[in-house]
């Protein structure tokens, strides 16, 4: 076997191998355009090397010419691919130079195919037998084609382009890449020019493009292997930092996860896998994780993820997982989306936390608040019990007297049926009246969570006024209600809001207790604000709040009265807060105090 065959085959094989490796790299991550371009140029170089081997063994000038023609195609591909490779790899280079080089090469190809037999010679007149590496090979003899000037200019421009790009990259700080890529390309271009000129002058059987390209590939390969070595070291460091991270996450009880959106594959650390009950080997997708979330939180979670993907916002979501054979677990997840340059989301990374304990505390706190409110309701009910007994004894007394009357009428010889019918109707009406009182009492005592509804404040205040009637009578106070019936409905929980107004009125009633009868007037007023809120104001003509403590009157156990739990205003504030409203106290300049609170108005269904 000849040295040429061995050498050229090896060069072609090396080029092809590089082409294959880089093509694979590109196939794996499509955004690595530099690898694709390098693969294309390496492939073209491999093909060119083979053609070159054929040309050197050509028997006729026509055969050599034909081979040379196809070598030009491969060379054009190499040049064009390398031009764009420089731009992709160094992230530098002038675009107009790149396009000019490409244009010139295209012109060379036009000449190559349509003007001359090939881009190098006008005509290969003869073949010269030449000893090369211990072998006798064919070398072309002929007149240079004028189109070669285009190749010269192209190479010159490429030199300028590559140097300029390398300088730019160097300035940017990518020094190693700038030297390796810029340097090898400059050297390769010069060698390519020299060799092709030597061939034209008859000193070489071929331009030895494969050999030149090999010189280009070796530094690149070195660069690549550097990357591999670095990747190895990186992997070690990564393993270490992963171990550290794992330790940290375990200590912090954190779950780590990563969602490859393109392939819909979720990676999660041991802790996070345990939470969703996934085995080590199980492949997880977004949907498979979603299915493990408690159904009532599933859609909300899906929406939160969609929002994060579409709006470039961080994911913040809390949900419950009811793992079989395990207590319900609350998880808070925080994630961030990674995007391609075009904004397409490719990955979401995040951490998750087990917040079951916190949720439990919150629930306890809520229950505590509820029971506190209930305690207070019971207390204020105690204050109201006399009044309620009065309320209840009216209908009960009426029923009793009516039944006694009926009994007596029935003993007569000719009972007045009309009278008896009237009595019966009155008894039924008073029975309903008594039931209504009991219902109001029960509603106040019942422990319940918020039930938001569209509420007519007019009805609400009237209900409270009815409840207060006895108490107002007992204290000889007057309640003025100024709630327009055309007011929009308020959004709120009827019983809780009743509690608020009741608390405020009882407070006011307490405040005016020591004053003369003309000042024992309480007012409930409601007005619609322009901004979609309704303001409710409860006023009295009492002594007002102590000015120094007016900002603290809503604190728990802050009381200026001798009786009372000091919770009335605090609970009112809690309730108003839970409705998203605001509550505040004011002293009126003409004496007395006003407590105001706001509620959200409901547009639809309101205004009746």
């Amino acid at each position: 076997m000849s040295w040429v065959t061995v050498g050229w085959s090896m060069i072609a094989a090396v080029c092809m191998s590089f082409a294959a490796v880089h093509a694979l790299v590109w196939l794996h991550s499509r955004d690595k355009l530099a690898n694709l371009l390098f693969a294309i140029s390496a492939f073209a170089a491999g093909v060119l090397t083979v053609i070159e081997m054929v040309a050197m063994r050509a028997a006729t000038p026509a055969a050599y010419s034909e081979a040379l023609r196809w070598m030009h195609v491969a060379a054009a591909i190499i040049v064009i691919a390398l031009v764009w490779f420089v731009r992709a790899y160094l992230q530098a280079g002038r675009l107009w130079l790149a396009w000019t080089i490409v244009g010139l090469r295209a012109l060379v190809l036009v000449a190559n195919f349509f003007v001359y037999p090939n881009g190098t010679f006008v005509e290969i007149s003869a073949l010269k037998m030449m000893p090369f590496l211990g072998e006798t090979l064919s070398a072309p003899v002929g007149e240079q084609a004028p189109s070669r000037i285009l190749i010269f200019i192209g190479h010159l421009l490429f030199l300028i382009y590559a140097t300029d790009a390398a300088v730019q990259a160097w300035r940017r700080g990518a020094r190693r890449q700038s030297v390796t890529v810029g340097g090898t390309i400059v050297v390769g271009l010069i060698l390519g020019l020299v060799f092709s000129q030597l061939m034209v002058r008859g000193y070489l059987p071929a331009p030895l493009v494969g050999f030149v390209f090999l010189m280009l590939v070796v530094p690149m390969g070195w660069e690549l292997s550097r990357d591999v070595i670095q990747a190895g070291a990186l992997a070690d460091r990564l393993r270490l930092s992963q171990q550290r991270m794992e330790m940290a996450t375990r200590a912090g009880d954190l779950g780590l996860w990563e969602w490859d959106i393109v392939r819909d594959e979720v990676w999660a650390n041991e802790r996070a896998r345990a939470w969703v009950g996934a085995a080590e080997s199980e492949r997880m997708s977004f949907e498979s994780i979603l299915q493990r979330i408690a159904s009532e939180y599933r859609e909300a979670t899906r929406e939160a993820v969609q929002r994060a993907l579409s709006a470039d916002a961080d994911l913040e979501v809390e949900f419950r997982i009811d793992a079989p054979g395990d207590d319900a677990r609350w998880i808070a997840a925080h994630g961030r989306v990674e995007r391609r340059a075009n904004g397409k989301p490719v990955r979401m990374r995040g951490i998750s936390m087990d917040i079951t304990a916190r949720r439990r505390d919150e629930a306890e706190l809520l229950a505590q608040r509820d029971s506190l409110a209930q305690l207070h309701r019971a207390t204020s009910l105690g204050q109201l019990s006399n009044a309620l007994a009065h309320e209840l004894s009216q209908p009960l007394g009426a029923i009793l007297r009516n039944s006694e009357a009926a009994q007596l009428f029935l003993k007569k010889e000719r009972p007045d049926l009309e009278e008896l019918r009237a009595i019966n109707e009155d008894i039924m009406r008073d029975d309903r009246r008594a039931s209504a009182v009991i219902d109001r009492m029960r509603a106040l005592l019942k422990r319940r969570s918020l039930e938001m509804d569209a509420i007519s404040l007019r009805d609400l205040v009237d209900g409270v006024a009815a409840m207060m009637r006895g108490e107002l009578l007992a204290r000889q106070a007057v309640l003025k209600v100024d709630v327009p019936s055309h007011l929009p409905y308020a959004l709120g929980d009827r019983v809780h809001l009743q509690q608020v107004i009741l608390n405020l009125l009882l407070n006011s009633l307490e405040a005016v207790g020591e004053f003369s009868s003309d000042r024992r007037t309480l007012t409930v007023r409601a007005t619609a604000c322009d901004d979609g809120w309704i303001e409710v104001a409860v006023s009295d003509l009492g002594p007002g709040f102590p000015p120094a403590r007016i900002s603290q009157v809503f604190d728990s156990f802050m009381t200026t009265k001798c009786e009372g739990t000091g919770l009335g205003l605090a609970i009112s504030k809690t309730i108003v807060d839970s409705h998203g409203g605001r509550i505040w106290a004011e002293n009126d300049p003409q004496g007395g105090a006003t407590v105001r609170f706001t509620l959200r108005a409901v547009r639809e269904g309101g205004g009746q």
């Binding site: 006399n386 007994a389 009065h390 309320e391 209840l392 004894s393 009216q394 209908p395 009960l396 007394g397 009426a398 029923i399 009793l400 007297r401 009516n402 006694e404 009357a405 009926a406 009994q407 007596l408 009428f409 009278e419 009595i423 009155d426 009406r429 008073d430 009246r433 006895g470 009578l473 007992a474 000889q476 007057v478």
Partner: protein
């Protein structure tokens, strides 16, 4: 507040026919702002045989009450504007007081004690047993009847006393102090026979025959108290 639907008309009818009679049938005046309860109570009392009259506030009662009609008041203690206690005070200062039975929704002891101290006939829950309520009303009516008789007698005796001349009144005052005719004559600076004549005229005008009867009359007419202190009249 709408006027009560029960008996005012019936009461007016009765008033027409019974006005001329000196002692009309006693009536129970119901004063309560809770009309349904009052209407039930009126029916029960009517069925029992009482005549009841309804008023939906204390002011309404004071304005519309039939003049000098015997009876008693059954009033709710808790009412707006003028409550039961205020009504009782107003009645006590009027020239035709009637006993009050208080009804209340809740058995508030201190209020009840205060009401009783101010002369209420009774203090009952609205749901009190019928017998208890009727007994209280009966007691109030009996008391009213007695008080009315006492007031009528006093008025009659006072009428008789008012016919006496100044001199006759002076003689009467001395007689009530237990002075003898001779002593009276000396005190007044007149003749003893003149004293005797004044004394005889006085006894005739007052329709009595003895000094003991005179003393009794003087007390009943409210001229003197039991210790026989002559009023400054």
């Amino acid at each position: 507040m709408s006027p009560p639907s029960c008996s005012p008309t019936a009461a007016h009818d009765e008033q027409g026919s019974a006005a001329a009679v000196e002692e009309v049938a006693p009536r129970v005046f119901l004063v309560d702002d809770d009309v349904p309860f009052m209407s039930g109570l009126e029916r029960m009392l009517r069925a029992t045989g009482y005549r009841a009259m309804c008023f939906d506030s204390a002011a309404d009662f004071l304005a519309r009450r039939p003049a000098s009609s015997p009876g008693c008041v059954v009033a709710d203690l808790q009412m707006p504007d003028m409550d039961g206690m205020a009504l009782q005070q107003a009645l006590a200062h009027s020239d035709d007081p009637v006993p009050v039975v208080f009804l209340t929704g809740n058995g508030d002891i201190p209020t009840g004690v205060a009401a009783m101290r101010h002369g209420a006939e009774d203090f009952l829950a609205k749901t009190a047993p019928r017998e208890q309520l009727l007994a209280a009303i009966e007691r109030a009516l009996v008391r009213n009847s007695r008080e009315r008789r006492e007031r009528a007698r006093r008025r009659e005796l006072q009428g008789r006393v008012s016919t006496l001349t100044v001199r006759e009144l002076e003689v009467m005052a001395h007689v009530l102090r237990g002075r003898l005719n001779k002593q009276i004559a000396a005190d007044l600076g007149i003749d003893e026979r003149t004293v005797k004549r004044h004394r005889a005229n006085m006894m005739v005008k007052l329709g009595i025959a003895s000094v003991a009867a005179l003393a009794q009359l003087a007390v009943e007419a409210g001229i003197v108290d039991r210790d026989v202190q002559i009023s400054t009249k």
